[in-house]
């Protein structure tokens, strides 16, 4: 069954993420198993999305296997991706080991499906999630003083609030000199700003749309934006206030720069992607290795929300059918528990599994406490809480998300640059969201007419 496409060559295009680095460095087991050669092209996310879009546009399907970001690939181009159920149910092909149920359910819906829960476009492949990272050593050292001054226990936990986070950050600014600032944020006019702001938007009860499925399965028509609602305005006002006491560099930091500031001792805490842990805990790269604590992000008046940034891997529907079937073998292998375990042990990898069963293995559980050879697992308690349906933060999955993403991070950036009030920024964003949706609807209806 595994050897039927021996001799085939496949191309896998991926963002330069830890799991792909691990797979690219150890493809021999797959080649031995199937006789298939896989060329891996790793690129920065934006460049990768462009290449995939242009490949889809060419109709060639040169990249048979695609790293499918749910918002930038699956939502706009799902019609050009192969539906995976027919491969999974095909008796002549291997099915997903341990079944689809073994994937974390929120991730399967968010990363693998679009609009229709009966159509599967991708298998969950990685799962970076934003959590609260803090300097454990500083919290231990100053915890009592902070507690006395602030009147609450400052130890980060899921029950901490954003209001408390603000007070802790301010306390660090004013009462110690081991780190220049209490908090830092990925607030550059970029995708990272949308991620950072969304956590607070959701916590305050705001959202981009009032639509039940837009964030889980996704939809072509989410309805009018709700960014002008009072909850969103309140969230925006708080975000501006929070950034007012953050490290001034925050407004030009993306996620990489924010993590760099954290691991070089510029800030005491930050909302950060959990997969940075591997580099943060590496003494060769980080000044704070062994001094980091992890918690889910603080909660707001409405809920706790932790931005999920995971992706799936998918098959290009424009590729020849035989190549699609060969690509399925790779998907099954790359997302299998054994391969994910191999990736976690890899010297160049360090991803986090999307499989439930892996977290139950004794050898994996052992690595969840320091010292750990799989440092990302040190965040497990925080991320497992973050992945619960009530805590996960899922941005809208709509075909026009790239434009809407640009709109929201531009307007929030204008707010942070004092060009607009929180209210003006949110109301303008709502208007532009609705304009973008209107164009997307027109495009969709034209496509329907043509079809």
């Amino acid at each position: 069954m595994w050897k039927q496409y021996s001799g085939t060559t496949l191309n896998f295009i991926s963002e330069n993420t830890a799991p792909t680095a691990a797979i690219a460095s150890n493809l021999q087991p797959f080649t031995d198993l199937t006789g298939i050669t896989v060329n891996v092209l790793q690129l920065e996310l934006g460049t990768m999305v462009q290449k995939v879009a242009l490949d889809i546009g060419s109709g060639e399907g040169s990249y048979q296997i695609v790293y499918a970001d749910p918002y930038q690939i699956v939502a706009p181009y799902h019609d050009a991706l192969a539906e995976l159920d027919e491969f999974n149910e095909d008796e002549n092909l291997p099915s997903v080991p341990k079944g689809l149920e073994d994937f974390i359910s929120t991730q399967l819906a968010a990363a693998g499906r679009f609009a229709d829960e009966n159509k599967l476009y991708g298998l969950p492949y990685d799962c970076p999630t934003m959590i609260w990272m803090y300097r454990k050593d500083l919290f231990e050292k100053y915890g009592d003083s902070m507690s006395q001054d602030l009147g609450f226990d400052p130890t980060p936990s899921a029950s901490s609030t954003w209001g408390e986070y603000y007070q802790i950050a301010k306390w660090f600014n004013e009462n110690q000199d081991e780190v220049p600032y209490g908090t830092g944020h990925q607030a550059r006019q970029y995708d990272s700003l949308m991620c950072d702001f969304s956590n607070i938007l959701w916590c305050y009860g705001g959202d981009y749309f009032d639509n039940e499925v837009v964030s889980s399965l996704g939809t072509v028509d989410p309805g009018p934006s709700t960014l002008d609602q009072p909850e969103a305005l309140e969230a925006a006002a708080f975000y501006k206030k929070l950034l007012g006491i953050a490290h001034p560099g925050s407004v030009s930091w993306d996620w990489n720069a924010t993590d760099e500031a954290f691991r070089t001792g510029q800030i005491a805490m930050t909302p950060n992607w959990h997969e940075f842990t591997a580099v943060d805990q590496d003494p060769a790269e980080s000044e704070i290795a062994g001094k980091i604590g992890y918690s889910p992000l603080p909660k707001g008046p409405a809920r706790n929300a932790n931005m999920y940034g995971g992706s799936s891997i998918a098959i290009n529907g424009a590729s020849p059918v035989e190549e699609q079937r060969a690509a399925w073998l790779f998907l099954v292998w790359a997302t299998s528990p054994d391969t994910m375990l191999m990736g976690m042990k890899s010297d160049v990898g360090g991803g986090t599994p999307t499989r439930r069963s892996l977290y139950e293995l004794p050898e994996v559980k052992k690595e969840m406490k320091p010292p750990s050879d799989m440092p990302n697992l040190l965040t497990y308690d925080a991320v497992s809480e973050a992945w619960k349906p009530e805590n996960i933060g899922l941005r809208p999955k709509i075909p026009s998300w790239n434009e809407c993403d640009t709109i929201i991070y531009t307007e929030v950036s204008k707010m942070l640059a004092d060009q607009k009030s929180p209210e003006e920024a949110m109301k303008t964003a709502k208007q532009y969201f609705d304009d973008a949706q209107s164009r997307a609807r027109t495009l969709a209806s034209r496509r329907m007419e043509v079809a």
Binding site: G46, Q50, A53, L54, I56, G57, S58, G59, P76, Y77, D79, A80, A187, R188, Q189, Y190, H247, P248, G249, S250, V251, S252, A261, T264, Q266, G317, A318, S400, N402, E403, T406, T410, S413, K414, M415, L416, A417, D418, Q419, K420, L443, R446, R447, V450
Partner: protein, 303 residues
């Protein structure tokens, strides 16, 4: 007589068909026409359509919708306004500094080559490297410029993250890189100024400023116009440094029209609309180039 015969052959052969030269040039001319006109007509056609990439590229005729949208799109309008500001500031500063530095270097008696080599260095760097260098030097945690400005109490916020300083910062990065080109071009012009006339003016008692105004300036006006043309064409499509440093932010303060075009084409994949914006930039470039060519023509320097 011989010249007249050659001219006659060049125009047409004796039997009224194409001359030998034209026949030899024709394949290349056709190839060039295909390479130039096919993309041009293709992009014009794209601007009249809604373009979809799903299952192969497809066109859905939209008439003038993309063009109408472009002329009413306030984000694109604001990007054009910023591009104009950026254009005037960079080209203006580069011309003033470039001419001033060239005049100074021209007067050097010794060390001229060393000074020129040092001055020209930035020009040989790739713009993306200039952007990365600029980002490093202005970083609020470890950047040298940020540190100096902060210690002097001049500016304490993040240089590239603050609306009032981001655009001046990227303008200065461009000026730092391309002023040397103006220096080089103007120095070439200064070398061609008739030294006998300068000496005669000195003998007649003309001051430095008078020599500059009445002898040097008219002599180098042509090359300065060429320098202006070259930098103007570049400034209109300025992209690399802004992408690396600010990505158009903060609050769109550095989002000039090429950044918006790139965003529309390769982030939103709204290719029909991007084609309209791109053609708008092309028309603007042609208009600017025409202005400079006319200036050159008026000075008899275009041929």
């Amino acid at each position: 007589m011989a010249a007249a015969q050659t001219e006659g052959r060049a125009k047409k052969s004796g039997n009224g068909g194409l001359s030998l030269e034209m026949k030899m040039l024709l394949p290349v001319l056709l190839l060039l026409a295909v390479l130039s006109f096919f993309p041009l007509f293709y992009i014009i056609w794209m601007s009249l359509n809604t373009v979809s990439l799903i299952n192969g590229i497809s066109f859905d005729f939209a008439g003038l919708a993309n063009w109408t949208r472009m002329f009413t799109d306030e984000i694109v309008g604001a990007a054009w306004a910023r591009a104009a500001l950026y254009f005037v500031a960079t080209v203006g500063l580069e011309m003033i500094l470039g001419i001033a530095i060239a005049l100074l270097v021209h007067e050097l008696v010794w060390g001229k080559n060393l000074a020129l080599s040092l001055i020209l260095l930035p020009m040989f760097m790739a713009p993306v490297i200039v952007g990365l260098l600029g980002r490093f030097l202005t970083d609020s945690s470890y950047g040298l410029y940020a540190y100096v400005l902060r210690e002097l109490g001049i500016f304490e916020r993040d240089i590239l993250g603050t609306a009032s300083s981001a655009l001046p910062a990227v303008i200065l990065m461009d000026v730092w890189e391309w002023t040397p080109l103006i220096v080089l071009i103007v120095l070439a012009g200064l070398a061609s100024v008739n030294q006998y006339v300068i000496e005669a003016a000195k003998v007649d008692g003309a001051s430095y400023l008078e020599r500059l105004r009445y002898i040097v300036a008219p002599s180098i006006a042509g090359v300065v116009t060429v320098a202006l043309l070259v930098r103007s064409m570049d400034a209109i499509r300025y992209f690399d440094i802004i992408t690396v440093t600010t990505n158009g932010g903060p609050g769109n303060t550095t989002k000039i029209i090429p950044i918006r075009l790139y965003e529309t084409a390769f982030r939103f994949f709204d290719l029909g609309y991007a084609a309209a914006i791109g053609l708008g930039m092309l028309v603007f470039s042609i208009l600017v180039a025409n202005v400079f060519v006319r200036i050159l023509e008026s000075r008899g320097l275009a041929r």
